[in-house]
């Protein structure tokens, strides 16, 4: 495959990154999807929109988020110097709010009066419910019953914020099915409703728009690491479900050939068990939810259920730009198992006093794997995409602890 001059130009006008992406959408929604694309093109070039977004990101979300040198983790591993991009310190506790601020401002400009969203771990649901409270717009969140159970704290947060939670009881009862139901809602409420997509996947323009809103992560890291070290990092690591936190960190560095970039996908109980969410490692190109991407599917093109201890990574596909970056070889994607992620969760909690989300723990785990063999002047930035309070029930269960009983 020919290497392009830049890795940052995509997508093309029809929303494709190589063969990935596109607009595989039912006709009823197609005009709406074009409306969103047009509205976004206008908004991103409007200084008023840019200014308003910047205001909320700094004053409401609390950006910039710190780039923190994890000294004790670095010392323990004895190799690369590990910085953590502290997206967990954002208001609502994850990177998701970077995107919901941008999209709620867009929905407002479009005159939409109702918001719907899908959520897995509930971080996007919380970030959506939060901005809907802030801007006084009713919202409905679709969430699989499997995720409602394991992410109970986030469900309660969303309810307190005024969101209506619609439990999804079909299929795998997780993110994929929540996405199906959100699309069904959108097609049924075309006049009033804006679909606030939470990850860098789905029909164009969402993968591009969500990426653009998340690029604030990588842009800040560039400035912060220059200030701290006087040079760019050697390695970036981020976890990937749909891939929004990762593309936000990666994209501003794609053209810096010396920066090695690694995405970690959820290998669940192990690739050999078939119970995982490693779409790039074990999937094949297919079409779902409006875009072509790597998908876990059976021998007849039926979508398979993903499996991960982390609800946010429990999705059988992965955003189209990651698929392209994988095929073209610019980014390396590696599988990380539930067990490795849990180990990283405990390690970071004990060493640094930071409880990471199970999603982010997949990135930490890979950093822990490779850092010891790297020289001490090797600079690594790991995206700590969210905090782990929401995961305490899940982690407790893996330790045989019943929350509130025998702590």
């Amino acid at each position: 495959m020919n290497k392009p001059n830049t890795f940052r130009e995509g997508p093309d006008e029809t929303g494709h990154f190589g063969i990935f992406g596109g607009q595989f959408v039912a006709e009823t929604l197609m005009p709406l999807v074009h409306d969103v694309a047009e509205a976004y093109e206008t908004a991103k070039n409007d200084p008023e929109f840019v200014k308003e977004k910047a205001y909320y990101l700094s004053q409401y979300v609390g950006r910039p988020s710190p780039l923190y040198l994890a000294q004790r983790l670095t010392d323990k591993l004895g190799g690369a110097k590990i910085y953590l991009k502290r997206e967990d310190l954002n208001h609502t506790g994850a990177h998701k709010v970077n995107n919901t601020i941008g999209q709620i401002l867009l929905a407002k400009r479009m005159g939409k009066t109702r918001i719907i969203a899908e959520t897995g771990a509930g971080q996007h649901g919380v970030a959506t419910a939060t901005v809907c409270a802030l801007f006084d717009i009713p919202c409905t969140i679709y969430m699989g019953t499997k995720d409602i159970e394991r992410q109970a704290p986030n469900v309660f947060r969303m309810k307190m914020l005024g969101a209506e939670i619609k439990p999804v009881t079909v299929g795998s009862c997780s993110l994929k099915d929540a996405m199906n139901e959100a699309i069904r809602d959108w097609v049924s409420n075309v006049d009033t409703t804006y679909f606030l997509v939470g990850t860098a996947a789905g029909m164009h323009p969402f993968p591009m728009m969500v990426r653009d809103f998340q690029c604030v992560i990588g842009e800040e890291v560039r400035e912060q690491i220059m200030e701290a070290e006087g040079r760019l990092p050697d390695t970036l690591v981020a976890c990937i479900g749909g891939g929004s936190n990762a593309i936000g960190l990666f994209h501003p560095f794609l053209d810096d050939a010396d920066v090695k970039i690694i995405g970690t996908e959820a290998a669940g109980k192990g690739l050999e068990t078939g119970l995982h969410a490693a779409s790039l490692t074990a999937g094949q190109p297919g079409v779902l939810h409006g875009n072509r991407m790597y998908l876990l599917q059976d021998e007849d093109g039926q979508i398979m259920e993903a499996d991960s201890v982390s609800a946010g990574l429990d999705y059988p596909g992965i955003g189209p730009e990651h698929c392209w970056l994988h095929d073209i070889g610019r980014v390396e994607y590696v599988p990380v198992t539930d067990a490795e992620a849990l180990d990283a969760f405990h390690t970071l909690t004990k060493l640094e006093g930071i409880i990471p989300a199970l999603e982010s723990s997949h990135a930490i785990a890979h950093a822990m794997k490779i850092a010891p063999d790297l020289p001490q002047d090797h600079i690594m930035v790991v995206n700590l995409s969210g905090r782990g309070d929401k995961d305490l029930n899940t982690v407790a269960a893996t330790m045989g602890v019943e929350m509130g009983v025998n702590l």
């Binding site: 006709e27 005009p31 994929k176 007849d300």
Partner: protein, 283 residues
């Protein structure tokens, strides 16, 4: 490829619509999912539909994630998949059907991924050979026509486009550019089998589409009764009924989800009532 090429694709659909026009009535288009609730029962239903009055058959290709469908058709897809239905078997059923009926058009309906996974070229060739006349692929709008629409036309299969209440006059010509066989008007903004459109709205929408095309216009989504089918037949060239038929399958399963003895008859009797409704309307 231009519109003239699309219209030059001749299948059983063109012949059937021409014959019905001469007869002075609209078509009843029936949707069932291939292999619902199991391959054997599904095939019996398929083979019985023309005798019950179905003029055109839409045969659903089961998919794990039918995003544009309501609960009824979602469940039918799940039943078929649980019973082991595959794309190859769906095509085999068309082939078997054709040994007895070489006139009733069959349109395969579904989502793109199983087709893409099967391989577009191979799919078009195998479908044509099996006796398929048209394709309706919900998640392939004209923006993605190079994926399957153009290959299908090249392979002699009609590609039927959906239009919706949201498809305005500015967009319609784009949707119709490579449309052939017929135009499928989705009469509500919603998923299948959940709501019905008002007759006046359907009338206005069909007239609007006819200003843009000479293709027959079929109307579907939300037709549940013989009376509803008759209403649509009075203003459109075809009435499509899906969820209501599929619900007859659902209602005739035992506790283990297996077909009860009377299932096929129930489905076909209901189809006959729909057909009577459509046939009452003379133009």
């Amino acid at each position: 490829m231009n519109a003239i090429t699309a219209k030059s694709v001749e299948t059983r659909l063109g012949k059937r619509f021409a014959a019905l026009k001469a007869e002075g009535r609209a078509a009843l288009v029936t949707f069932v999912t291939a292999g619902d609730p199991d391959a054997q029962t599904g095939l019996k239903i398929l083979q019985g539909l023309p005798g019950a009055g179905a003029d055109i058959i839409e045969l659903g290709m089961p998919f794990s994630d039918p995003m544009a469908d309501g609960p009824s058709i979602q469940a039918s897809s799940q039943r078929a998949l649980a019973a082991g239905m595959t794309m190859k078997q769906t095509l085999d059923q068309v082939r078997t059907f054709r040994t007895q009926d070489n006139d009733t058009p069959i349109v395969l309906m579904g989502y793109y991924n199983p087709v893409y996974f099967y391989g577009v070229e191979k799919f078009v060739a195998d479908a044509k050979e099996a006796g398929v006349d048209g394709l309706i692929i919900v998640d392939l709008p004209p923006e993605e026509e190079s994926e399957l629409c153009l290959p299908a036309l090249k392979g002699g299969i009609n590609f039927i486009y959906l239009t919706a209440p949201t498809t305005d006059d500015k967009r319609l010509p784009r949707v119709l550019e490579n449309a052939s066989g017929f135009v499928y008007y989705v009469s509500i903004t919603g998923v299948t089998g959940t709501a019905s459109a008002a007759k006046a709205d359907v009338d206005a929408a069909v007239s609007r589409i006819r200003r843009h095309t000479d293709l027959p216009v079929a109307v579907g989504f939300g037709i549940t009764t013989p009376e509803g089918a008759a209403d649509v037949a009075s203003v459109a060239d075809a009435a499509v009924v899906g969820s209501a038929i599929v619900n007859r399958v659902r209602d005739n399963l035992d506790e283990q989800g297996r077909a009860k003895p009377g299932l096929v008859d129930e489905v076909l009797n209901f189809t006959k009532k729909l057909a009577d409704g459509v046939r009452k309307v003379k133009k």
